[in-house]
Amino acid sequence: MSSTPGFGDIIQTRVDLSEDQLTKREFGRSPVKLSGNPSRYHAGDTVNLPFGSGETSTISAMGDAWAATVTGGSPE
């Protein structure tokens, strides 16, 4: 790994599309022009979400959502 991944970056991916795969992609019969990474996330990836201490993290937000539901709470 040449540089430190940022928040939300993929740190391990299962999918590396080859040049051949990219050039052969078609939508119907219209060639699709592609540039860069064709999509950000693929299934099977691992992401880096390093929340700091005290931050509202994904897992704590999920817990808050469930905890609110059992007492009749709803999102803002």
Binding site: T4, P5, F7, G8, I11, Q12, R14, V15, L17, Q21, K24, R25, E26, F27, G28, V32, K33, L34, S35, G36, N37, P38, S39, R40, Y41, H42, A43, G44, D45, T46, V47, N48, L49, P50, F51, G52, S53, G54, E55, T56, S57, T58, I59, S60, A61, M62, G63, D64, A65, W66, A67, A68, T69, V70, T71, G72, G73, S74, P75, E76
Partner: protein, 529 residues
């Protein structure tokens, strides 16, 4: 609807001469031996596994139907976000064009590993929930988390949510895959290639399903069966040969869900039947023999039932799960006393054609940690079914008495009841899923069956793509604007693992084919050049 059993291409037993007999029993529950074999074939996970591989290899050119997203979980009213990073969950929804689905495609989704991290959870004294110790217990690992735990200070949400009254407590993460891949708080998760600079060898990690918890002791119970280990040689092996490492933090593993009728156990309704273009029952049918008291979902807008597929794009709908007595999910919401959900006829039996028995993983050779004396099926010999309970006969010569029938969802890593679309996603993601052991009892030659499968899959994919280009996909038909349609919202809840009322379209940030972010709720559109 096609006769049951045909949909997976297994040869039906020869029809007997109607005049001569013999007349086979065709009911599935307690049916004849040919019928039971037939059900066994149809239900086989191996079948999904093999068909998923075929779908994956014939589907590569359709990778354009990928919708990567990050979902910002809304906070409950009255709470505010602290810190600058939003609580996002990363994932992808992928469309599978399907010939048998006249107006669209199946949507299969995945939440990525690393979205949930245990280094963001603390106990009552703000101690991070690292792994304090691990003990071996038969088929399970008992993982003691760091912290101080007692009856007043159980594991924090979402691991455990205590509910008021006599409602069952919630354990939303039970059944998810956990991986010990974070070494220190806020660290970058290790991969199977990450090398320890102090020793020069790879760290390695273990992935296993969270089977259950002991909330008041701060203990997680992980299942050894189906666990996966990334070894020092960067090889994935199953089952794992070593326990999760003390001092590390867990992250979630990939989680999958699909909108297809196989995964959701919901039947199709064909619009073209209603229009007179298709000769089949207007409404789906389920044999009485396979009817089962089941749950169903109702989507509502402002308290009114709203089952429209198309809605205003940004109109949020609510999901209510209706469960008959004895089959309640711990997640059903309170319902208005006057609405449809409290009519006894709606809550105490199934809707014909809507729900049939599926989704059980028939567990083999595992113990139940909370009740070691409970009767469990074993892998030796024939498969037995683990979703009922009996008491011994009152006297010799009498049969066991069935005292309880229930859903036994036992989430096993790579033995979770996936549909072929999920298997296809795993194949294309280079995760070659282990071959399920419930190999079908073919009534035809396997080679011929597979060759026919290859041909059919290719032909069906071509036809499906023709359908897509004929009918077209509107902007409303694709994620995230379709995620609150009746068929999608329950699948999205299963995938994101948050209450349906917290799944709002405005929370989705999508990424187009160039990797650029756009927010549909704010009028954002993907690049079309």
């Amino acid at each position: 609807m096609a006769p049951r059993g045909n949909s997976f291409g297994f040869k039906e037993p020869r029809k007997s001469n109607s005049k001569l007999g013999p007349f086979p029993i065709v009911g599935e529950f307690g049916g004849s031996i040919p019928d039971s074999l037939y059900s066994s074939n149809k239900e086989a996970s191996w079948n999904r596994w093999r068909r998923g591989y075929e779908l994956a290899t014939s589907n590569l050119s359709y990778a354009a139907f990928e919708y990567p997203f990050s979902y910002n979980i809304p906070l409950p009213s009255g709470t505010t976000q602290s810190g600058e990073n939003p609580p996002v969950m990363a994932g992808i929804i992928r469309g599978f064009p399907t010939k048998n689905k006249e107006l669209g495609m199946h949507w299969c989704g995945s939440v990525l590993a690393g979205s949930l991290r245990f280094d963001n959870l603390v106990d009552q004294n703000d101690v991070d929930l690292s792994i304090a110790s691990v003990t071996e217990s038969g088929h399970f690992w008992r993982v003691q988390l760091a912290g101080t735990w007692d009856a007043n200070n159980p594991l924090p949400p979402p691991l455990f949510i205590e509910t008021p009254g006599d409602q069952p407590n919630l354990t939303p993460l039970n059944g998810d895959v956990l991986e010990d891949r974070v070494l220190t708080q806020a660290d970058i998760p290790i991969t199977k290639e990450t090398i320890d600079p102090n020793t020069g060898i790879r760290y390695g990690y273990t992935a296993a399903v969270l089977d259950s918890i002991e909330p008041y002791n701060g203990v997680l119970i992980l299942r050894k069966q189906g666990s996966v280990e990334a070894t020092f040689d960067s090889v994935l092996i199953t089952p794992a040969q070593r326990a999760p490492q003390v001092g590390r933090f867990f992250i979630n593993g990939s989680k999958y869900a699909c909108s297809c009728q196989d995964f959701t156990r919901r039947q199709y309704f064909y619009v073209s039947t209603f229009l007179g273009r298709r000769k089949s029952p207007t409404f789906p049918l389920t044999k009485c023999a396979t009817l089962k008291p089941g749950r169903y979902e109702v989507t509502t807008t402002a308290g009114e039932i709203d089952e429209r597929i198309m809605q205003k794009a940004l109109q949020d709908r609510a999901l209510t799960i209706v469960a008959p007595s004895g089959y309640e999910l711990p997640y059903n919401q309170s319902v208005n006393s006057k609405d449809v959900n409290n009519i006894p006829s709606n809550t105490n039996r199934d809707f014909p054609g809507v729900f049939s028995d599926f989704g059980n993983v028939y567990t083999r050779g595992t113990d139940i940690p909370s009740d070691p004396n409970a009767p469990v099926p074993r892998s030796e010999g024939m498969v037995k079914y683990g979703d009922y309970d009996t008491i011994p006969p009152a006297a010799a010569g009498q049969p066991n008495q069935l005292i309880q029938v229930q859903d036994t969802w036992s989430h096993l890593l790579d033995e979770y009841r996936y549909c072929k679309h999920i298997y296809a996603m795993k194949y294309t993601d280079d995760l070659f899923p282990p071959e399920p052991s419930d190999f079908p009892a073919f009534t035809t030659e396997q080679v011929a069956w597979e060759q026919r499968l290859v041909d059919e899959t290719e032909r069906d994919q071509r036809k499906a793509f023709d359908n897509i280009t004929t009918y077209g996909l509107s902007y409303m038909d694709v994620p995230p604007l379709n995620v609150q349609s009746p068929i999608m919202i329950s699948m999205m809840q299963k995938m994101l693992n948050i209450p349906a009322s917290f799944i709002k379209i405005e929370g989705f940030t999508m990424y187009d084919k160039n990797g650029n972010a756009y927010v549909p709720a704010s009028g954002g559109r993907p690049s079309n050049v």
